[in-house]
C-alpha cells in the first residue's frame, strides 16, 4: 500500500538559456528512500532544490500530498533539507541550531528543549549541545545538520550529497546511520548522489538522471541487473559490452553470435531483426576465466591484474583487441587461481546471465574515451 507523497509533472528549467531539466515527471511514494543518481550537471541538485523551494520551475507543477506547492516559498513547505556542506549557523550552539526550526514555529520552550534533546540523542550528540559548530568534526557537524532537519518532523527529508565531504570510512558509517534513521522515523528520504555504490546500497528506488532526463527509474537491483540503456549500464557499476549479432529469432527466444559463440537467450523487450547488431552486457563478476586448454569460451591473454582483497580483478585482451573486465572471488581450493600478466587464458561466462541492449544512435563515451576528451579540453 504505497501512497504518493510528492509528484513532479512536466518540470522544465533553464539557466541562462541552458536546459537543465526537460519535461521531467516523477512521483515519490510515502516512506521510501529514493536516490537521484547521475553525473555532475545532470540536474539532480536542481531537482532537489525545486522540491525544497529554492528554485522555481519554468514549467510544470509540484504537488505534495495532493496540494500544489509549485510556488510555495521554502519556509512554508513541510520538508527539510540536509545541505552538502551542512550549512550550520556558525554563531549558534549545536542546541540553538537544532532548536531554530522549532523556534520559528513558536513552539513552547519546554517542548523545544525536549524535542531538541531527543533529536540530539538520536544522532548521539547529547553531550555536544553547548558546543559551537566549528568545535565539531565533519561527521559531527553532519549529524547536527541531520538532527536540525528532522527535529521538525518533516514529511520528507531532502539530502544533497550529504556524505560527499566525509572520508570513506565515516561515509560507510553514516550510510548505515542514515538508513537506520529513515527506518526509525519512517520519513521519506530523497537522496542526491553521484556515487553509484552509495545509491545501490541505500535506496529503495533509484532515479538515474542524465542531461535533465530520467534514464531509468527502478530498484537498485533492476538498475544494476537490467539497465534500460547504455548510459545506465555504463554509469551504474562496471560493464563489459560485447558486440552481438542476431542469428535466429523464435517466438520467445533468440540466438546471438558473440565472438563466434552461439548463445540462446530470452527475447529482449525491444524489437529485434535478423542480423541486427546489439550489445551483450556482462558484469565483471559474471565473467569466468578458464585455463587456455578449456574447450569453452574465447581465447585471450591477461593484461592487468589487481588484487582487491576479497576479489581478484583482471583485464583480459581478446584476440580482436577488445578488453574484458573480470572480477572473481577467491577460491581457496584452486591453487592455479592467480594469473601472471601475459598468461594465456580463455574467457567465458555463465550461460543466461547476459543482458541485451539495442545499439543507440549517440552512445555515451566509455570512461577511457571521456578521460581522453577531458584531457584534450584542458
Amino acid at each position: 500500500m504505497t501512497r504518493t507523497l510528492l509528484s513532479l509533472s512536466g518540470i522544465s528549467k533553464q539557466f541562462s538559456g541552458k536546459t537543465v531539466l526537460d519535461e521531467l515527471s516523477l512521483t515519490i511514494d510515502d516512506g521510501e528512500f529514493i536516490t537521484l543518481l547521475g553525473p555532475s550537471g545532470c540536474g539532480k541538485t536542481t531537482l532537489l532544490r525545486m522540491m525544497a523551494g529554492f528554485e522555481l520551475p519554468d514549467q510544470g507543477t509540484i504537488t505534495l500530498s495532493g496540494v500544489d506547492i509549485t510556488q510555495t516559498p521554502p519556509e512554508s513547505r513541510p520538508l527539510n533539507t540536509v545541505f552538502q556542506n551542512y550549512a550550520l549557523f556558525p554563531h549558534m550552539s549545536v542546541f540553538d541550531n537544532v532548536a531554530y526550526g522549532l523556534k520559528m514555529e513558536k513552539r513552547p520552550k519546554a517542548e523545544i528543549v525536549e524535542r531538541v534533546e531527543d533529536a540530539l540523542a538520536m544522532v548521539q550528540l547529547e553531550d555536544f549541545a553547548r558546543r559551537k559548530p566549528h568545535q565539531l568534526s565533519g561527521g559531527q557537524q553532519q549529524r547536527v545538520a541531520i538532527a536540525r532537519a528532522v527535529v521538525k518532523r518533516p514529511k520528507m527529508l531532502l539530502l544533497d550529497e550529504p556524505l560527499s565531504a566525509l572520508d570513506y570510512k565515516l561515509r560507510r558509517t553514516m550510510q548505515v546511520e542514515l538508513k537506520r534513521l529513515q527506518r526509525e522515523l519512517s520519513i521519506t528520504f530523497v537522496f542526491v548522489t553521484h556515487d553509484q555504490e552509495e545509491a545501490l546500497s541505500m535506496s529503495d528506488r533509484i532515479v538515474v538522471l542524465k542531461d535533465g532526463y530520467i534514464q531509468q527509474l527502478g530498484t537498485p537491483r533492476e538498475v544494476y541487473e537490467r539497465p534500460e540503456n547504455v548510459f545506465t549500464a555504463r554509469f551504474v557499476g562496471q560493464t563489459n559490452f560485447f558486440p552481438g549479432r542476431v542469428t535466429n529469432i523464435e517466438s520467445d527466444r533468440i540466438s546471438v553470435d558473440v565472438f563466434g559463440l552461439n548463445r540462446e537467450l530470452g527475447k529482449p523487450s525491444f524489437r529485434v531483426a535478423m542480423n541486427q547488431s546489439l550489445h551483450v552486457l556482462l558484469r565483471p563478476e559474471d565473467i569466468r576465466v578458464l585455463a587456455p586448454d578449456d574447450a569453452e569460451g574465447v581465447a585471450g591473454k591477461i593484461v592487468e591484474r589487481n588484487y582487491k582483497g576479497s576479489t581478484l580483478d583482471s583485464v583480459i585482451e581478446l584476440e580482436d583487441g577488445s578488453h574484458v573486465m573480470a572480477s572473481e572471488f577467491f577460491d581457496e581450493d584452486d591453487p592455479t587461481f592467480d594469473y601472471n600478466i601475459g598468461e594465456r587464458v580463455r574467457v567465458s561466462w555463465v550461460d543466461g546471465w547476459e543482458w541485451l541492449l539495442a545499439e543507440e544512435g549517440d552512445e555515451p563515451l566509455t570512461d577511457e574515451e571521456e578521460l581522453a576528451a577531458d584531457d584534450a579540453e584542458h
Binding site: 512554508s76 545541505f83 549557523f89 554563531h91
Partner: protein
C-alpha cells in the same frame, strides 16, 4: 633563547624591527601625550611641572562637555548615515557578478587618490550659496532662493559621510562576502521568513563588519577637524577641532593632550567590544 635567535636571524631581525617601530613611533609619542596631559600649561615652554590633573578636570567644564557631546552626536549621525547607506550597498555589492565587483570596489577607492582636504573644498563649492546644488535646485524650480546649506550641522555630516563612507562599506563588504548562501537557504528551509532570517542569521553574522565599520567611521569622524573648519562654521566643532585649537591656537598642551587621550580611550573601548563580538562568533565568524 639565544640559540633560537642565532638559528633564525631573519626572524630575530623582523621582531626587532617591529618592536622597535612600535616602541619608538607608537608607544613613545603616546607616552609623551600622556605625560603632557598631566603637566601644567606654560606659555613659554608649552608645558612645565608640577604634575596635576587640571587638564582632565577642565574637560568637565560644561562648555567643553557640550562640544564633546555635540561632536559625539555629529559623529554618531555620520556613522548612522554611513551604516544606513553602507549596509545595503555592501550587501548588493557582494551579490553582483564577481568581475563587476572588482570594478565597483575600484570606483569606491578612486577618491582616495585625491587629498581629502581638496575633496572637502570641492564639496564646499557644491554646497555654497551660489554653488552647484543651489543653482541646480533653483533652475529646476524646486526652490526660489538659495538655501543655506553651507556652515550648518548638516553640511559637516555630509562632509564626514562623504569622506568616511568607504571605511564603512569595505569591512561590511568583507563580511557579506563570507556570508554563505546555503546558510540563508537553511534558515528559510527551517521555516524562517525574510525578516526572521535577516534578524536571526544575517545581522548576527555581519555584526563584526558593522562594528569594524563603526570603529573606522565614528572615531575618525570625531577627529577630522578640517571638515568643520571648511564646511561647519564656528558652532559645529568636533573634538578634533578642540584638540587642534588647544595645541596650535590656545597653546594649552596639557588640555589638548587630555582631550586626545579621552578620544583614544573611547577607541580602545570600541575595539574591546569588537573583539568580544568576534569571540562570540567563534573562529569561523572571525
Amino acid at each position: 633563547m639565544m640559540q633560537s635567535i642565532r638559528q633564525q636571524p631573519f626572524r630575530a631581525a623582523v621582531l626587532v624591527l617591529v618592536w622597535g617601530w612600535l616602541l619608538f613611533l607608537v608607544l613613545t609619542p603616546n607616552m609623551l601625550v600622556v605625560g603632557a596631559s598631566v603637566m601644567t600649561r606654560d606659555p613659554a615652554n608649552f608645558i612645565s611641572l608640577p604634575l596635576n590633573l587640571d587638564a582632565y578636570r577642565q574637560l568637565f567644564n560644561p562648555l567643553y562637555l557640550e562640544v564633546f557631546l555635540h561632536s559625539l552626536y555629529m559623529a554618531a549621525m555620520t556613522t548612522l548615515v554611513c551604516l544606513l547607506i553602507g549596509y545595503p550597498f555592501a550587501w548588493a555589492l557582494s551579490r553582483v557578478e564577481k568581475r563587476r565587483q572588482i570594478l565597483l570596489i575600484f570606483l569606491l577607492i578612486i577618491p582616495f587618490w585625491t587629498n581629502s582636504l581638496v575633496r572637502t573644498y570641492a564639496l564646499k563649492l557644491i554646497l555654497a550659496t551660489n554653488g552647484l546644488l543651489n543653482s541646480a535646485l533653483m533652475s529646476l524650480g524646486i526652490i526660489d532662493e538659495p538655501a543655506q546649506l553651507l556652515y550648518t550641522e548638516g553640511a559637516v555630516i555630509v562632509g564626514l559621510v562623504y569622506l568616511l563612507l568607504p571605511f564603512m562599506i569595505l569591512p561590511l563588504y568583507s563580511v557579506f562576502e563570507d556570508l554563505r548562501q546555503d546558510v540563508l537557504l537553511a534558515s528559510h528551509d527551517l521555516g524562517a521568513g525574510r525578516f526572521a532570517t535577516f534578524k536571526n542569521v544575517i545581522v548576527p553574522l555581519t555584526l563584526p563588519g558593522v562594528l569594524a565599520g563603526v570603529m573606522l567611521v565614528l572615531l575618525p569622524a570625531m577627529g577630522l577637524f578640517f571638515v568643520p573648519d571648511i564646511l561647519g562654521g564656528s558652532r559645529n566643532l568636533l573634538v578634533g577641532n578642540v584638540i587642534k585649537n588647544q595645541f596650535l591656537d590656545a597653546r594649552n598642551w596639557p588640555f589638548g593632550a587630555a582631550a586626545s587621550i579621552v578620544l583614544t580611550l573611547t577607541m580602545a573601548l570600541l575595539m574591546f567590544a569588537h573583539r568580544l563580538s568576534k569571540r562570540r562568533l567563534g573562529e569561523e565568524g572571525a
